[in-house]
Symmetry: C2
Subunit: 332 residues, 2 copies
């Protein structure tokens, strides 16, 4: 029988705190912030059947639970420091715990981000991580900081996660699109590649940090609910509008082989991409490309911030596109 305290000791407590002044095991963890530094904080809750399928691979789930939080730090330009994990579990299953903690710590260690506390309880599977990052005053990439004339940039590629989800859910046409994307190649391999984007996203921490630290970008957001909805938050909070070239959006390698309407829909409003959308002045184009190269992250220029409110979608020729798209809303 695995008790609550054994469970924590066995799967989540590391030998000693890395940088935390006090880690797991007291009423609170203690962090000592760097002199003059600000603390960036974000929380994400993942619910079974909503954010992941029942029976999801626990290693990937451990990775994804932390990845979506790291992605929020990336979108702010903060350096990851620590996180707490609150976990509701239907039962204390050793196999699940071993997989989940291994996936979680592999990503945490890659970013030097330390588990400092949390909570463990019985209940429907629910994973809530709160993450802490550090940055200097003035560095933060805020949603309200876009300015008319800024370029709009996207990291990496979009839409493969949404394509994998469509295939998992057996949505009409998804299978045919995957087959078309595969061409003569191995369809299963294509599906696996797209699925990896859905189940094990890569947070763009190094890119976000460079964009903030070198004061390259103005505004940024991470794309979790679909680009059009997420970029809308920047526009609203910055009091600006934008033109977005939908055909310039970088489709994932699998989606790139699909029909144009699927490419447009899933790059513009897919969801679960965890790429960065950021704005930067035109003079900074060289610096953006250098930051992309330095962090090993593709960066693509896809539009422009304008003073006139509203988001104007255009095609490769600059002609208006009337796509019916919307971001994801949990209660919509």
């Amino acid at each position: 029988m695995l008790s609550e305290f054994d469970l924590i000791a066995e799967y989540f407590k590391r030998p000693r705190p890395l940088r935390a002044t006090l880690g797991i095991g007291d009423d609170c963890a203690l962090l000592t912030p760097g002199a003059g530094m600000q603390t960036a904080i974000s929380s994400d809750m993942l619910v079974e059947g909503r954010h992941f399928f029942a029976g999801a691979d626990p290693y990937q789930l451990g990775h994804k639970s932390l990845a979506v939080n790291l992605s929020d730090l990336a979108a702010m330009g903060a350096r990851p420091v620590a996180f707490t994990l609150a976990l509701a579990l239907p039962s204390a299953d050793r196999g699940w715990l071993a997989g989940f903690s291994a996936g979680l710590f592999a990503l945490a260690d890659a970013h030097g981000c330390e588990l400092v506390g949390g909570d463990t309880t019985k209940g429907p599977l629910n994973i809530c991580i709160t993450i802490f990052g550090e940055l200097a005053p003035g560095e933060a990439l805020r949603r309200d900081a876009a300015r008319p004339g800024d370029d709009i940039w996207i990291s990496g590629t979009l839409g493969d996660a949404r394509l994998a989800l469509a295939a998992c859910l057996n949505e009409p046409g998804a299978g045919a699109q995957l087959a078309q994307a595969a061409g003569g190649a191995d369809g299963a391999a294509r599906f696996a590649a797209a699925s990896a984007r859905l189940h094990a996203p890569t947070p763009r921490v190094a890119l976000g940090r460079l964009l903030a630290q070198q004061r390259i970008a103005h505004a940024a957001i991470d794309i979790s609910d679909g680009l059009v909805g997420d970029v809308g938050h920047i526009l609203k909070l910055s009091g600006v509008g934008a033109v977005l070239d939908v055909d310039a959006l970088p489709a994932g390698p699998v989606l790139a082989g699909c029909a144009q309407d699927w490419r447009r829909a899933y790059t513009a409003a897919g969801g679960d991409d965890y790429e960065l959308c950021f704005t930067a002045p035109a003079e900074a184009r060289g610096a953006v490309l250098a930051a992309g190269a330095q962090s090993g992250t593709a960066v693509t220029r896809v539009g422009r911030i304008e003073a006139e409110a509203g988001l104007r979608l255009v095609d490769v020729h600059g002609a208006p596109l009337a796509l019916k798209l919307h971001g994801f809303d949990h209660f919509g």
Copy 2:
């Protein structure tokens, strides 16, 4: 139809951040820690059917969700600063949200503790709060800091929450004990008084802060799983033992009217008390009493830390008591 973003704007976003550099609405919140101060962090997750009954009063639930987190700050001696709220809701029910947010903010405002971010999602009702406090290096009341010779103290009273739970669950004998506690008085009023301890606990923030800031106490923990189990964490981490006078434990006003075996069991291992158990050197007795008076919190001396490992329960005459007690374990 209440969208995810309307829900946050309507029930959880305040006009402007109080002290946070950046509050709700971006990828991360930004806090600027006081110069040289440490950050205390704690997370608690409350699951329907586990930590509260289905259909629980939302105002009390908002209060309790934050109270249990404030109690962790109190046990560390930290000053509350801010918190995040991650909420899984089966549906966006306006009545529930209005009650929950009112209870939450009433307690938050009383402690100057600001909601800075979080997450809202659809799912089985689950409330996860992560709280942030501030304290100076060396102030923290750590579980590993008890020393042989220290007195053991308890704030407030114990056991009424457990008595109310027993009555709610219709546990054998609970009704008769409540009737006995009422004597000739109003039984419903007694039940309501005990229930208030269960559903709306009072975090001992002011007392904890004084004990830490004035360097009065050595170790502290908040009593959530039952005193015997929780004091055991102090003993284990401090490498010490203790004698605990079970008959000196301050019973809640309702439990005080119950039979001796109920009083002993529910003060020693009730659960859901959210009182502080702390240790302080004998020379500090006057200072402890003064801190209690200054914070308006009763403090009772109930035992002594000893070098010999183990927890020895004794009665009012100092004779060993063999009570079968254990702390709460979610997976036990």
